[in-house]
């Protein structure tokens, strides 16, 4: 091999350095992410309770899980929450972006105001909304002290409505970010196309419906992927806002997993619920990442 003979030591080192530099990160990810995932998935098939244990029980944890009313509540809540959260954020984000794209005065300031909630911790957001929505001191109390004595707003204490307060706080936190994504998409559309459509006699309504919004497909896709994974991971907000209550009215899979694993010592069931969460996210993320990375090649 002429090639090897000619390559001096330094040159050979140079060819290995890139992989060497990448390897610590790669090792960390392989162990702490994929190794751990494997371990957790394995635990979901064992009789682990307070501590990991390795007695194989097959699908028992999963069948137990799906018989738990607590888990059923979490899943139902997840459905309601995800649907409303993703739907409202998308509609609101798109609408605000379109409004903000009309040569608005002080656009920069308004954008800043819409976006700042994203910088806050869900614990802070939860605390603020928790007391604002509290019937004892918050909105209800304020309205009554202002003279509207029949005003009632106790959703946060109401089993049937508490989940909607979680939606409200979550929408408040993320809709500005979705707005920014759509605004970027709007700004990326070629103005000449819009001018051409206007020459063709399209009204503003038709311009948006037929020309602009269809071109925002990538923004819709990104918004959906980001919102859905945030929805499934929602944990801190519930802890701070309602603590999962009243009763179990606002439990979500993430809080379910936490309490079963760490408070109720049902590690096997906790691991099973975490596995289901992972699979749900993977079903959304993997096709998305695959398409994104392929395209960039």
């Amino acid at each position: 091999m002429a090639q090897a003979a000619n390559a001096d030591f330094k040159t050979r080192l140079q060819t290995w350095l890139p992989k060497l530099v990448l390897s610590p990160s790669l090792a960390m990810v392989l162990i702490f992410v994929y190794g751990f995932i494997a371990f957790s998935v394995y635990l979901s098939f064992t009789d682990s309770r307070l501590l990991p244990s390795f007695g194989w029980v097959g699908w028992e944890n999963y069948s137990k899980l799906w018989r738990l009313s607590h888990w059923e509540t979490s899943i139902t809540n997840m459905g309601i929450f995800a649907l409303l959260y993703i739907g409202i954020c998308t509609v609101l984000g798109l609408s605000l972006a379109i409004f903000l794209d009309q040569k608005i005065r002080a656009e920069g300031f308004i954008r800043t105001v819409y976006l700042y909630p994203m910088a806050l911790s869900f614990i802070v957001t939860g605390t603020a909304w928790k007391w604002f929505l509290d019937p004892g001191i918050g909105l209800e109390n304020v309205m009554q002290s202002w003279g509207w004595t029949s005003f009632e707003f106790d959703w946060i204490k109401n089993r049937d409505f508490a989940i909607y307060t979680v939606v409200l706080a979550a929408v408040w936190q993320t809709s500005g970010f979705v707005m920014a994504m759509f605004l970027a998409g709007l700004r990326g559309i070629d103005n000449e196309i819009l001018k051409a459509a206007q020459m063709d006699g399209a009204s503003n309504w038709n311009l948006y419906r037929r020309i602009i919004i269809p071109q925002l497909r990538p923004a819709f896709l990104s918004a959906f992927v980001i919102l859905s994974h945030l929805a499934i991971k929602t944990f801190d907000l519930v802890i701070a806002l309602t603590g999962g209550g009243p009763g179990r009215a606002t439990e979500l899979p993430a809080t379910f997993m936490y309490s079963y694993t760490f408070s109720r010592n049902q590690m096997g069931i906790g691991a099973a619920s975490a596995t289901i969460m992972l699979m749900t996210i993977a079903a959304i993320m993997i096709p998305y990442l695959y398409a994104e990375l392929r395209e960039k090649k």
Binding site: A2, Q3, A4, A5, N6, A7, D8, K10, T11, Q14
Partner: protein, 370 residues
Amino acid sequence: MGFLDIDNTTKSYGAVEVLHNVDISIEEGEFLVLVGPSGCGKSTLLNMIAGLEEISSGEIRIKDQVMNGVHPSKRNIAMVFQSYALYPNMKVGQNITFGLEMHGTPKPEREKAMREVANLLQIEQLLDRKPGALSGGQRQRVAMGRALVRDPDVFLFDEPLSNLDAKLRVDMRTEIKKLHQKLGTTIVYVTHDQIEAMTLSTRIAVMNGGYVQQLGTPQDIYDTPANIFVATFMGSPAMNVVPARVAVENGKPMARVALHDGTETALPFSQDNMADWDGKDILLGIRPETITDEDAADRKSSNIAHMTNRIVVTEPAGSDTFVTMTMGGKDVIARMRSDAEVHPGADFTFAVNMEKAVAFDPATEARIAP
């Protein structure tokens, strides 16, 4: 053994071979241009000479030293990139001396070399500026300065003029040619522009589809293209390629070509060996400038044929007028003097310099005469 030898070299990505058995050898001081359409493999070949791409098989030698596997910085080469690749965070002076610094040249020597090069290229006043503050032409000069300062065995140019506007491109072309004549350096230059290739080179390698189609001097390539690809790629407007049939009349081989109305004209070949093709179809290559009016026909030519054909379109271009007609069912362009009396729709008698005509085999597209 030449100064730079590319010996039976191939390049593959996985199972896909993108360069096939390239053989090129040039002497010291030569200006080799690799020309071809995008994707022909010319830049890949240049990168292999530079050491930026591995050689899949074969050998590349500079001064008889095998370069396979040698790090780019140890090949004693310098390269000018299409985007100039000036380091944006360094001043012009630092850009020029960065390579010397990396090779451990002491600072006073670096400064001296930098001054010399800056003087040569007249960029002394730019040395303290950042590349972002330079015009396209200035960046081009700095990029050349960075290459020159290394005093390399071989200069590699990767489409260095393609980011300049038309006028500047012509000026810089002349500049590069002057520099080559003055310094006598060995240059390998990649371009897709056949005019750059013709004007700059001492030797051209025309590439297409990963093959070297023809290697030769600019005159060789222009007058005796190896095949139809080379014939039509080099020259502007491109060589006319017209279907024709060979017929021997009175012992002379003639090319019979259909005119606009389907009637045939017979154009005599200068090469007697075309008689071997009697009765067979060929493709006849005629350069636009060899179809003229009678007055402008080449007086030195011993073989001027005449034909009357209908003019379809005339395109006055100032110095010349381009005339389009139909021959063998194809559009054929003639390059006429600007004051030639030509009118669309009229019949005109053209003089064709058949001494310069080329014949190709329609099956292989290779040249059969001259």
